[in-house]
Amino acid sequence: MAFLEFFVRFLPDLLSGMGMTLLLTAEGVLAGFILGLAATLARTYAGRFWRNLAIAYIELFRGTPLLVQVFLLYYGLPGLGITLSREWSAFLALGLNSGAYQAEYLRGSILAIGEGQMLAARAIGMSKWKAVFYIILPQALRLAIPAWANEPVSLLKATSVVFLIAVPELMTRAKLIASRTYDPISSYLAVAILYLVLVYLVDFVLKWLERRTRLPGLSAVGEH
């Protein structure tokens, strides 16, 4: 079958882009987690200035398309004298974008943990921030896992848009193959299959992790 031949022939070529895709995903998840956690803590517990800053960040990055954010960083910033490489623009955009979404997941679980826990912690003399780190977060993070598990998969798919600024990941390789073979449908079909496999691998691993870290009695927040 023609497509099968095509697929086998170009698989190695495609796979050379997979490393970057996975790197972007991992980096996005990590940076997004740090940013998201910071933003949500600022939003829930910090003073007015930081709270408003956090809200502005979250609303801006959730309210605009990722592609626009990428372009703003890569093409727009030079207008202000700041020039970022393709890879850095991609890293930043993905991280900032993911952070805004992760902030919302985390906020949901922190709210679900409830005021009662904070009250009890303060009652034994803990400061607010100690309570946050030793009582609230350990519970909130576990609670957030099922809903949060959507994020790495989401990111994996989202990394595909950075091919429009020519970052050498999977989609870029697919485009190159398409222009060499004049067979766009087969090329993009092939990369679609690769993404599908990756997505379900990541999903599988996350579900396994979720099972391992489940706390008895603490059920998942209503997701999504």
Binding site: G63, L67, G76, T159, A174, A192, Y195
Partner: protein
Amino acid sequence: MGRANSLPIFAIGWQRMLSQFFSYILQGTSVTIAVTLIALPFGLILGLLLALLYNYGGFWVSRLAAIYSLVMRGVPPIALLFILYFLLSGRLINLSPFWAGSISLGIISSAYQMEILRGALQAVGEGQMIAARAIGMSRLQAIRYIIIPQAIRLAIPPWSNEASIVLKDSSLVYAIGVPEILRRAQQLSATTQQPFLAFGAAALIYFLLVFLVNRGLDLLAEKTKLPTSMA
């Protein structure tokens, strides 16, 4: 030429920019809105059909629907967009990038909308179907008059989330040359040499559109809510 040269670039730039802003980016806005307004209903009808097939079809039919959903949600939208675009603008069917892109986005969205709607259909509960059959309604009548009206109300919050996602994803048709906001912003950036302002403006417009969509749908949810208090 004397004084003209010493004027800051901004002074001349502003006038130019404003007129170009209005012609370029607002044109782009109408294209973006058009793309979204085609993709969303398309995705809704297809998604509703699939959700009904999944919940009420036979074993094989619901399996097929499930596989459709898994595949369409497991592949990045832009890859799907390209595949569908090349299929829809090829030799068999020849659509313009605008139509090919909009319909493709609709097809992609249908998988996500299917998940939302099937969840809502299930949330309505089996009891409603039983009660409807008990007064002599056929399965079809029960679905049409009893199940769907309740499912729609349950579906509005997650659906409004999907609506804003489709609006944001419409930016992807940039890649197939459709003159929506982002492409217009790029042209604007080229002519005015003010990339930050151009792309910043694009971001702002998207932000406004998303905000309006969310508010509008929140209002809809409020209006169609069933009264729950004891009168």
